[in-house]
Symmetry: C2
């Protein structure tokens, strides 16, 4: 069975397509009787208005695009859930693309979304993205973009973020407060702003507490995997036997490290204390459970869509959009990978 069209209805009733269309929209120049008749038949036949035709008229697709570095990731999947739950409430659909942390892919996907005429775009940048022309080009076309989590400070769009520097400072301070004297940092990749800010928060906490910052204790890695955590745990044991605390920039890597330390008979938190970042679900399930920074993914997704929605409404009313920075609160979740 092919979808029912206005023409089908008009033929069945022996009236013009225009009359059918007007009747469905409730125009008063069609008689009340005809309107009722058309509506009833449309319902019986399960008529659905053609979305593309509607779109051409309103210049709205009621669809937004979302580009995210990685879907199989507790934090990002929480963000996605927050976005689509909020979008659905406002009648928007969400097209999701994964950049795999690649700048080239991110650029291609942005173009694709624009060519598909999405109304706006939500994006968390790939680790590889250092140039932002592909984003500002789209903003110049008047298409609203909101960044979240992995943002570029230099781009003048709205952003939903946390204070990574402050959160990292809190995490490091907690290690110091619970007696750690020599604290390493598993920092993650070089480029993204959140990686830089977490590193700076770590460094500042050391300095404020009169501890020497030692660059050889900062481990850089591109792949934020469980295996990387295992590898760096082994490195710490061979290169820096005096390390008694580690601030890791993401839970997954911290969990890899804990697993390896357990294997090597290192007592956590007595020999080495560990703090993670993100509060992935599994952080509460491993042994010992992981002390970490709680990063509100679902909330971040919700707020990102809400801001985009405000901008879409403003655009419709031809109002100027003033970019907004929305900062969400984080907190330290104390568990058993640090001393009390």
């Amino acid at each position: 069975m092919k979808p029912i069209t206005l023409k089908d209805i008009s033929e069945k009733l022996g009236i013009s397509v225009t009359t059918v269309s007007k009747a469905l929209k409730g125009y008063p120049d069609v008689s009340k009787k005809t309107r009722a008749l058309v509506k009833e038949l449309a319902e019986t036949l399960n008529y659905k208005p053609n979305a593309f035709a509607v779109n051409l008229r309103t210049e709205e697709s009621k669809t937004i695009g979302l580009i995210i570095p990685e879907i199989v990731h507790h934090f990002f999947s929480s963000v996605i859930k927050g976005i689509i739950s909020q979008a659905e409430k406002k009648g928007y659909l969400v097209i999701i693309l994964q950049s795999n942390e690649s700048y080239d892919l991110e650029k291609k996907q942005l173009d694709l979304l624009v060519s598909k005429r999405v109304d706006g775009i939500l994006i968390s940048l790939a680790n590889g993205t250092a140039d932002f022309k592909h984003i500002t080009d789209i903003m110049d076309q008047g298409k609203p973009i909101v960044m979240f989590d992995k943002i570029a400070k230099i781009v003048k769009c709205s952003k939903v973020i946390i204070d990574d520097r402050k959160a990292a400072y809190t995490a490091t301070q907690h290690l110091i407060d619970t007696g750690c004297k020599r604290i390493a940092h598993f920092r993650g990749p070089l480029l993204p702003q959140n990686s830089i800010d977490r590193f700076l928060g770590y460094k500042k906490a050391l300095e404020d507490n009169g501890m020497t910052y030692d660059p050889s204790l900062v481990y850089i890695f591109d792949d934020m995997t469980f295996e990387v955590g295992e590898m760096f745990a082994r490195k710490i044991l061979s290169e820096h036997t005096d390390v008694d605390g580690i601030f890791v920039n993401t839970d997954l890597v911290a969990i890899g490290a804990i697993t390896e330390f357990n294997r090597q008979g290192v007592n956590i938190p007595k020999d080495i204390s560990i703090v993670g970042f993100s509060n992935w679900f599994m952080s509460s399930a491993i042994t010992p459970s992981l002390t970490t920074i709680n990063q509100p993914g679902f909330e971040m997704g919700k707020m990102a869509f809400k801001q985009l929605y405000r901008e879409l409404k403003a655009k419709k009313k031809k109002k100027q959009i003033t970019p907004k920075i929305i900062e969400l609160e984080t907190n330290l979740v104390q568990r058993n990978s640090t001393r009390s």
Copy 2:
């Protein structure tokens, strides 16, 4: 800056919109020189064809819909990743909706996707779905649907599945082979086919090994959470002290149970052995690591899109579609929550 239209190009070059359109499509009735000129200008101005207009003409949106019960879920997020990676290769975009395991929401979302004129739909059913008219209605309209993981046997569409019964049999047989005499089953919700099949596989393995099936050892629950696992672990310890093996229908619940058993000083696998289902990432990170059935999520997503794509191509050629059942292989991953 508004998006560039064919009209903008035609005005700049002083030629008709039709000529511009034909030039961009490379029609030979436009001179080679004009074609080159138009293409060059279109490129300079960053012209993008209007996707909606294209859609009206081809009756294709190059967009598919995906309805999934829950996004923050290792298995389903792997499936999503498989789907969008494959869709992107073929130039399709994916709109993702989450049914929250609710039949009503699933129904509403299917209607929404159809009204948005997606070309086809991929769906994993909500636990609450027992009636399938909302799905067969859409199939009757000639819109291809492919089900995966949580399917309805009665609906005559293509499906990508695993053999849940066989996998559950293997899991239970492994408990028996490693010495378990009294095996409980954390079964999950009543309705979905995979829950039924896993239960049947468990029961059959007991019977084939001459062990008595005891309904009081089968625990039913609607929410597949970590907390449910903790709760049932406590129940086992108070209600059935003779239980020495548990087959749990999903890893997350098994991990909750392990955490509670650890807390209560129960030795896994010596006192109680546990087998999960799905092979979530964290199953390898907890202590003891979880023996489980590996369920290929990414592969399932890929195959589901591939089948949908075959059906979209067949539909375009006005060929009949014969529904296909694609069964993927599973395997037992032996770790430390069972004896060797």
